[in-house]
């Protein structure tokens, strides 16, 4: 399966019928469970048994509880998903109380991803239909219950802001008063549910305030790291600095002599100091003066890894796409261009360091953590402890940033291994240094790209060879088919441009001891940089304007062309800038959304780069929450820009050389550009947007740098030029 195929599955997922089941809540309200019938029979049987409290609960107190299957990690999904429900349910958004979902693939799987996982910018896309259907079904049932009480035709009643009015408009009933009666009714069949057309939306397309913001400005919101469990101890940890290493010597007596330290736990790959508070645990960890046996990977270094990738890139890879006859086109073309592009390992560095609180008992394991993958985590803990899955109770929390790092259960597994030696609950917090040095990194890519052009400089053949480690092969082995990593070639295999001959192949090279994983923007964040840089190279070689050059290759792709034109227009493309400044443009289709960005960049005499302004045009289909789209463009752009300007993880003697925000420096408020978002009005189904801007920003900036300096950046980070 390719990601493009996953996107195509949107349509299939959306056409599937939502299965609904109604029941009464303990408090006498209406509970509505809905499940998108999936491949799994478990889904049907779980819904049939009514074993759940319901996705939606309308309680007699008037509050509407919505169990949100996706996690909130800043992207605003608690608000956007609640809006989808509220639009059809006809309630005020602030009457909805979002709640974290417990792990359960059968009930809470994302219809696109087929598991309860928050990633691939798939939340709004996945729940676009089911949540609106659930809202409409609940409204129909509530209206029917009111109509029965009044003995009138339900079709002539209306509902608005949680209040039902009879046909005369004389009588009204709030939802809460009929919730109990509605719970006795059968949910409407899917074909009886008529959803609003985009023109009828009153909430979708507006920008209400985020539902969870109040807790976040007052310090009340509990992230994973804030879990409080009575009697818990606190652990500071040191993980072997070289992958595969082990603790050789630990001064336990010195650690235990620190006031507040209770216990020293030594496991295969790490040491944990257990104490009354983290301050004592950290002090104890220092006193323990751990010495390590580095094991077999102490010789690993960045130069060796890059050499290994370079050698790999010289071999033919597994074919991701092969249209036309690339070989022949290269043989007969007027000119050819070849380039090598490199992108570094990257850490995620979410603001909330990795952490997990565990209470392991004989018959159960209780976990408090913020995770993008609750069900995977539950299964892996069950396998580790030998407990049945049901005995692994996971309390998901707000995430202090995810960016793909919390798609990995490693932090929870490590905490459970430590908890196996601790009597009672323990909170394990990684230091920032551990967080950066034991991340699961965005792969290093070493790609070769070539194009053949005709006499006018237009591309007639395109060959992109992607070379790097495979995240999919490790993360989701069943999706790694015939040696092809669909994510590694996403954004390369289906560029927005029309090339008569195109070959994209993939060479998998796994560097020793470095584990690689998904990073915000996933495949596109690497490929869009290369495709959009190389297209720019061709445009300049042809002495053509980069926007005009792209336009000619987009006649088949109106949505891509429209965002390109909009970004260019809003940015004032073609208008003169002072010396030392220039604009660069980029374009992408990824996550079901079209984006184009123009970067305005200044380069001073010393080669220092300052990105002054970013203009972003977005076509993400129906814009569910415009203010959230702007927030995600701001966020994604800054995340991608930070990496493009100076993000790099390097390895020396088997160790990660970066350790904290001084050596892996984030952008700060005094450095960020002005960022403008322009949204194309659309009635297409929503596309994803949490990652799109991260993927598109680097080439807009490097293309601008080329326009100023004539220097083409083919290796990230940019640093100074």
């Amino acid at each position: 399966m390719t990601l493009t195929a996953i996107h195509r599955e949107d349509a299939a997922a959306l056409s599937r019928r939502t299965f609904l089941k109604a029941s009464a809540t303990a408090a006498g309200g209406l509970a509505l469970a809905f499940v998108v019938p999936d491949r799994s029979e478990a889904a049907d049987s779980a819904a049939e048994s009514g074993a759940l409290n319901g996705f939606v609960r309308i309680e007699p107190d008037g509050r509407i509880h919505l169990t949100i299957p996706m996690v909130e990690m800043g992207q605003g999904t608690y608000t956007s998903l609640a809006m989808l429900l509220a639009e059809e349910l006809e309630v005020k958004l602030d009457s909805i109380v979002p709640e974290h979902a417990p792990p359960n693939d059968a009930l809470y799987a994302n219809p696109i991803l087929h598991e309860q996982s928050t990633g691939l910018s798939a939340s709004t896309r996945g729940f676009w239909l089911p949540l609106r259907q659930a809202g409409a079904a609940a409204r129909i049932m509530l209206v029917s219950a009111a109509a029965q009480r009044w003995k009138v035709d339900p079709a002539k009643c209306t509902a608005r802001d949680g209040v039902i009015r009879d046909p005369s408009g004389q009588r009204s009933l709030p939802y809460r008063e009929v919730a109990q009666a509605a719970a006795q009714l059968k949910p409407p069949a899917p074909e009886q549910i008529k959803l609003k057309t985009p023109g009828q939306f009153t909430l979708i397309g507006t920008s209400p305030k985020r539902l969870e913001a109040a807790g976040k400005v007052s310090g009340r919101t509990r992230f994973g790291i804030d879990a409080i469990v009575p009697g818990m101890k606190f652990a500071a940890i040191a993980i072997a600095p070289v992958g595969g290493g082990r603790p050789k010597q630990v001064n336990q007596a010195a650690a235990l002599a620190v006031k507040g330290v209770r216990q020293v736990v030594v496991i295969d790959e790490a040491v944990a100091i257990i104490a009354d508070h983290t301050g004592a645990a950290k002090k104890g960890l220092e006193a323990a003066a751990i010495q390590w046996d580095d094991g077999p990977n102490a010789q690993v270094n960045s130069q060796g890894i890059v050499a290994q990738l370079k050698a790999g890139s010289e071999r033919a890879g597994v074919i991701a796409r092969n249209d036309g006859n690339v070989e022949q086109a290269f043989a007969t073309a007027a000119r050819r261009f070849d380039a090598v592009y490199e992108l570094p390992f990257l850490a995620h560095a979410a603001m909330e360091p990795m952490n997990c609180t565990v209470h392991l008992r004989k018959d159960a394991c209780e976990i408090w953590v913020g995770t993008q993958v609750p069900t995977t985590t539950q299964s892996r803990v069950a396998a580790l402890t030998g407990l049945p899955k049901d005995a692994v109770i996971l309390h998901n929390q707000f995430l202090g940033g995810g960016f793909g790092r919390r798609l990995e259960p490693d932090g929870t597994l490590l905490a459970v291994k430590i908890a196996q030696h601790v009597d009672g609950p323990v909170k394990v917090i990684w230091s920032r240094e551990e967080d950066i040095q034991h991340d699961i990194y965005r792969p290093y890519y070493y790609d070769r790209i070539s194009a053949a052009v005709d006499d006018a400089g237009n591309p007639v053949a395109w060959h992109h060879r992607v070379c790097g480690s495979s995240v999919v092969a490790r993360f989701a082995p069943p999706l790694f088919k015939n040696g092809l990593d669909f994510d590694a070639v996403e954004g390369a295999a289906q560029p927005p441009y029309a090339f008569p001959n195109i070959l994209v192949d993939y060479v998998r090279v796994e560097p020793a001891s470095i584990t690689t994983g998904f990073w915000r923007g996933v495949g596109p964040v690497h490929n869009v940089f290369i495709v959009e840089s190389f297209i720019d190279e061709l445009a300049f070689a042809a002495r053509q304007d980069p926007v005009a050059y792209r336009r000619r290759l987009l006649t088949h792709n109106p949505r891509a062309l429209a965002v390109l034109n909009l970004a260019a227009e809003k940015a004032g493309w073609g208008q003169k800038l002072p010396a030392g400044k220039a604009r660069g443009i980029s374009l992408q289709f990824a996550f079901g959304s079209y984006l184009s960005q123009v970067a305005e960049v200044a380069v001073d005499a010393k080669g220092k780069v300052k990105v002054e302004r970013i203009v972003c045009a977005v076509d993400c289909g129906i814009a569910v929450t415009p203010s959230m789209i702007d927030a995600q463009v701001q966020s994604g752009t800054i995340f991608g820009l930070t990496a493009a300007l100076r993000g790099a993880i390097t390895i020396k003697d088997g160790r990660v050389e970066q350790s904290n925000f001084d050596s892996y420096p984030p952008m700060r408020i005094d450095e960020v550009p002005r960022i403008e978002t322009h949204i194309v009005s659309s009635t297409e189904n929503p596309g994803g947007l949490g990652e799109a801007a991260t993927a598109i920003v680097a080439p807009a900036v490097t293309n601008a740098i080329f326009a100023v300096t004539g220097r083409r950046i083919r290796k990230l980070p940019i640093e100074e030029v």
Partner: protein
């Protein structure tokens, strides 16, 4: 040895080593989890609290260095006029995303406004560049500070 700390108007007696960072006393001993841990080296500002009104990084402030200074945390910042205005501006402009750094951002912004009612862009840069936000909410933070200061954002 025990230390007496004045936090949000109340006195707390803490039995811990004097070199214990204030951050862990707040979070682990007193269960005031609004103040966040981000880096442990005063590089990110997530742990910002006020000591007698001045923005201070709790992760490197040892409890034996606090003396009788009044400690204010995010839990109580809304009781001051500047803090309340900052929190409201944050809500009005929907600043937060993941929200993890925002306690520290709000504490730094409030300290700025308490000492400088109408900060310029450059004042904002100076006061806020110690606070990292990986979600990239910086542009809205800048607008929200101006809104709280009564300027048109």
């Amino acid at each position: 040895m025990a230390y007496v700390l004045k936090i949000n108007g109340a006195s707390h007696t803490i039995d811990a080593d004097g070199d214990t960072p204030l951050l862990w006393v707040l979070r682990d001993v007193l269960q005031m989890t609004g103040t966040k841990f981000g880096c442990g080296m005063a590089l990110c500002g997530a742990c910002t609290v006020h000591l007698d009104g001045a923005a201070t990084r709790a992760c490197i402030t040892t409890i034996d260095s606090v003396g009788d200074a009044a400690i204010t945390t995010i839990e109580a910042i809304g009781q001051s006029e500047a803090g309340r205005k900052v929190q409201q501006a944050w809500l009005d402009l929907d600043v937060v995303q993941c929200g993890y750094c925002q306690s520290g951002q709000i504490m730094s912004a409030t300290a700025l406004l308490m000492s400088n009612a109408h900060p310029s862009d450059s004042d904002i840069n100076d006061a806020m560049s110690g606070n990292v936000c990986r979600c990239g909410t910086y542009n809205r933070i800048r607008e929200a500070i101006k809104l709280a200061a009564g300027a048109k954002p």
